[in-house]
């Protein structure tokens, strides 16, 4: 049975090297913890640098001011961001751009994509309190009002809202799911409540749409909604898998460092097989995770093959990162039980990603339906 292939592009490898060096330099763990504590949760000068480096332009077509590459070349950036736990609006802005490319009108693309390509943030508001991963399972609505629409309903997990200039939101329009672009200045401060996430490196808001109005031109191409949902779903899972895989690598490195340092009974605890062997198992799972990730990066966009590869990558990344971090807590002994031990950061990150766009069980169920 053939589930696809793996390869790489030169541009992808260039991005991998650049991103690795950038993230290592800009995101030491002490800084991660500091940014977690308050405020925007990200370093605005770092975010600006990412924009200046053209990272937001990677997967935007040239005609809209982008570099004209694809999600294939975004994956290594997301992986390294995850490896160094560097929080920023990068994934939100990338996914928002992808939503526009898959579901926007020509005018909307021409208007917004060049700005995003230059480093202006945008985000998505797709999820609702029902916790569903099916993007069409929504209740928020847009009702005709004057020349535009009046919105109602509540959105959750609106990531990086403070940074964003636009919020691409899913609503029912004429009873069918549609995407609309809400300019951030159309959202009153009182409508947005910051959510308390298990992953404290990230920022998200719950947004009450009631009373927010949008112009008719804010409605994206209603004929492309399903295509856009499918594209966003796959892109979000691909980047989630990338971030998770990068975090998993650091988690294992962190555990190994401890096993090579801590002594008990006169020996380094890494010499005890009860610790060594599960750490190796975590490392094996991580290597599989990385292989499936780059296979998914390679097949993104390929009909059929891409979906299978991405679902496998996300499922494996969830499993690997969760196990590695769970064992990391355990193998740090008493210290592992404290807030100061970084293992908790990795465990919380994995719980977050499992909750978004589908966990391992969800994707394996989809894979069963595709493959059996």
């Amino acid at each position: 049975m053939d589930f696809g292939h793996i390869g790489f592009t030169e541009e992808q490898i260039d991005m991998l090297g650049v991103a690795e060096n950038f993230c290592r330099e800009k995101s030491p763990i002490e800084k991660v913890r500091k940014l977690m504590e308050g405020g925007t949760g990200y370093d605005e000068s770092v975010w600006k640098e990412m924009g200046d480096l053209g990272w937001l332009a990677i997967a935007i077509p040239e005609e809209f001011g982008g570099v004209g590459l694809s999600m294939t070349e975004v994956v290594p950036v997301a992986e390294q961001l995850g490896r160094y736990m560097l929080n920023s609006p990068f994934i939100s802005a990338t996914l928002a751009a992808q939503a526009l490319i898959a579901g926007g009108t020509k005018e909307q693309m021409s208007s917004l994509l060049p700005k995003i390509a230059q480093g202006t943030a945008a985000t998505l508001a797709l999820s609702e309190k029902n916790g569903a991963w099916d993007l069409s399972n929504i209740e928020a609505a847009a009702t005709p009002s004057g020349e535009g629409y009046m919105l109602s309903g509540t959105k959750v997990f609106v990531m990086d809202l403070e940074a964003a200039d636009w919020v691409i939101t899913s609503v029912l329009l004429d009873g069918k799911p549609a995407l609309v672009i809400i300019p951030k200045n159309g959202i009153p401060e009182s409508a947005a409540r910051r959510e308390k996430l298990i992953d404290e490196t990230k920022r998200s808001h719950e947004v009450t749409l009631d009373g927010i109005s949008i112009a008719a031109s804010a409605v994206m191409d209603t004929g492309k909604t399903k295509t856009a949902f499918d594209h966003i779903h796959l892109a979000a899972n691909l980047l989630g898998a990338a971030e998770l895989t990068g975090s998993c690598q650091s988690c294992i490195d962190y555990t190994v460092e401890y096993l090579n340092t801590r002594k008990q009974f006169g020996k380094l605890i890494g010499s005890f097989q009860a610790l060594k062997h599960p750490t190796v198992d975590a490392f094996i799972d991580y290597q599989k995770s990385r292989s499936l990730l780059y296979a998914a990066a390679y097949s993104f966009g390929k009909q059929g093959e891409g979906e299978i590869a991405i679902r496998m990558a996300k499922a494996q990344a969830d499993q690997a990162a969760s196990f590695a971090a769970d064992r990391s807590i355990q193998f740090h002994g008493g210290f592992g039980f404290t807030y100061d031990c970084d293992a908790q950061l990795y465990r919380r990150r994995a719980i977050f990603h499992a909750s978004q766009y589908g966990d391992a069980r969800y994707h394996k169920k989809k894979l069963a339906d595709l493959l059996l």
Binding site: M1, F8, I13, K276, L292, A295
Partner: protein
């Protein structure tokens, strides 16, 4: 004039299409490790000889020693044809894959002229004398004694799990020549050993499947020529490690052919599509569906690992990791998927090879039990975790 690889491949394809034996009335072993009956042995020896004489084995080995003098690409094409037509295995694996490449690499001219052709023609069956009853995982502590006496070595001790021991003419032997060396590894030597001299006795051991295929070998004052020594006394561990590299396909140069019938365990899908448990199709069961997806993901991840290992830009952080974990992943997967297949058979799982009502003639039972030869042999999965932990992650050795 040397045929081009394309032409050679076409000829090989046609030859195996026509000559691959079909519809045998007896069971062939799945791997070279289960050659247990004389009928199996005679058949496989004749088959290997036929393939060699047709030019499709050892094609890349030097002509002057009995090889075909062609390129690895030629041999790979012939091997591909064997796979395509599910040809019976090339059973003389220890010669074809381990001793042969070793001799071609570091052997003397005399050794090459003496041993290579017999390996290819299957006139000389080879076995391996590494593990001992008291020293398996701790191979470096091997105790079988080789004492130099003039131009001979005198051997005393025992080796075990000797595949083909019963049929072999030669053994690649790891023996202790110096019990007083500064460390245990430094006292070992590697000696090409004739099995037919007085003082060497093999006793068949029955496997948990009920089949035969390996022996315990006893050495009692057995005298062998000292010119079988490879390298110098004390080089044994280094040479043995090189042999393991061939065994793990980490080094090239093997003669070709397949020694293990590679049935994709995803053949389980055929079973899964037809199986019912308690009257319900197993594919209706969400738990079974998820488990089957797990196996498909595992299989695909293994393939993607192998492919990524060949793409250095995607494998920078720890380039040796994937090769080091290849054995444990593949062998444990094989064990688990064969075991899972038994769980899809309902009460018919109680039937074994030889019973008409057995599912797939007991294939999955054999597959599962035989899978342990790979999770235990060649370095147990537990030892593999030690190796990966120490060599890939830099964790301290367990003392």
């Amino acid at each position: 004039m040397t045929a081009s690889v394309e032409d050679f491949a076409k000829e090989a394809d046609a030859w195996f299409a026509e000559n691959t034996p079909k519809n045998l009335d007896f069971m062939l072993p799945l791997t070279f490790m289960e050659v247990g009956t004389d009928q199996q042995f005679d058949f496989l020896r004749d088959w290997q000889r036929k393939v060699y004489e047709a030019g499709y084995l050892g094609a890349a080995w030097p002509v002057e020693y009995g090889g075909g003098g062609l390129t690895q690409a030629h041999q790979d094409a012939a091997t591909a044809a064997m796979k395509k037509y599910n040809a019976p295995i090339m059973f003389n694996t220890i010669g074809l894959g381990w001793a042969g490449p070793l001799i071609l690499d570091i052997g003397t001219e005399e050794m090459k002229h003496k041993y290579i052709k017999g390996i290819l023609s299957a006139d000389d069956v080879w076995c391996q004398g590494f593990s001992e009853p008291e020293n398996g995982s701790d191979l470096g502590n091997a105790q079988l004694r080789a004492v130099r006496d003039g131009d001979e070595y005198v051997l005393n001790g025992s080796k075990i799990w000797t595949t083909h021991g019963h049929y072999a003419k030669y053994m690649i032997l790891l023996a202790r020549t110096d019990p007083n060396a500064p460390n245990k590894y430094a006292g070992l030597s590697f000696i090409l050993t004739p099995m037919t001299v007085p003082g060497i006795e093999t006793v068949k051991i029955r496997k948990l499947t009920g089949e035969h295929g390996f022996t315990q070998t006893f050495f009692t004052d057995a005298r062998i020529p000292a010119d079988g020594l490879m390298g110098r006394e004390g080089d044994g561990w280094k040479v043995a490690m090189q042999t393991l590299m061939y065994e793990r396909n980490a080094k090239g140069g093997q003669a070709g052919g397949i020694s293990i019938t590679e049935i994709d365990p995803l053949e389980i899908m055929t079973l899964a599509r037809e199986a019912t448990i308690d009257g319900q199709p197993v594919l209706d069961d969400p738990v079974i569906r998820e488990k089957l997806v797990d196996f498909m993901m595992e299989s695909h991840a293994f393939k993607m690992n192998a492919a990524r290992a060949k793409l250095p830009p995607l494998n920078q952080d720890c380039p040796q990791a994937i090769p080091l974990m290849s054995k444990i992943i593949h062998t444990e997967y094989t064990r688990k998927i064969n075991e899972f297949a038994l769980s899809l058979q309902g009460s018919r799982a109680a039937y074994y090879v030889g019973e008409d009502n057995a599912v797939d003639d007991g294939y999955w039972h054999r597959g599962y039990l035989n899978a342990f030869s790979a999770t235990i042999g060649g370095g147990t999965s537990q030892i593999q975790r030690n190796i990966i932990g120490e060599h890939a992650l830099g964790l301290p050795k367990t003392r």
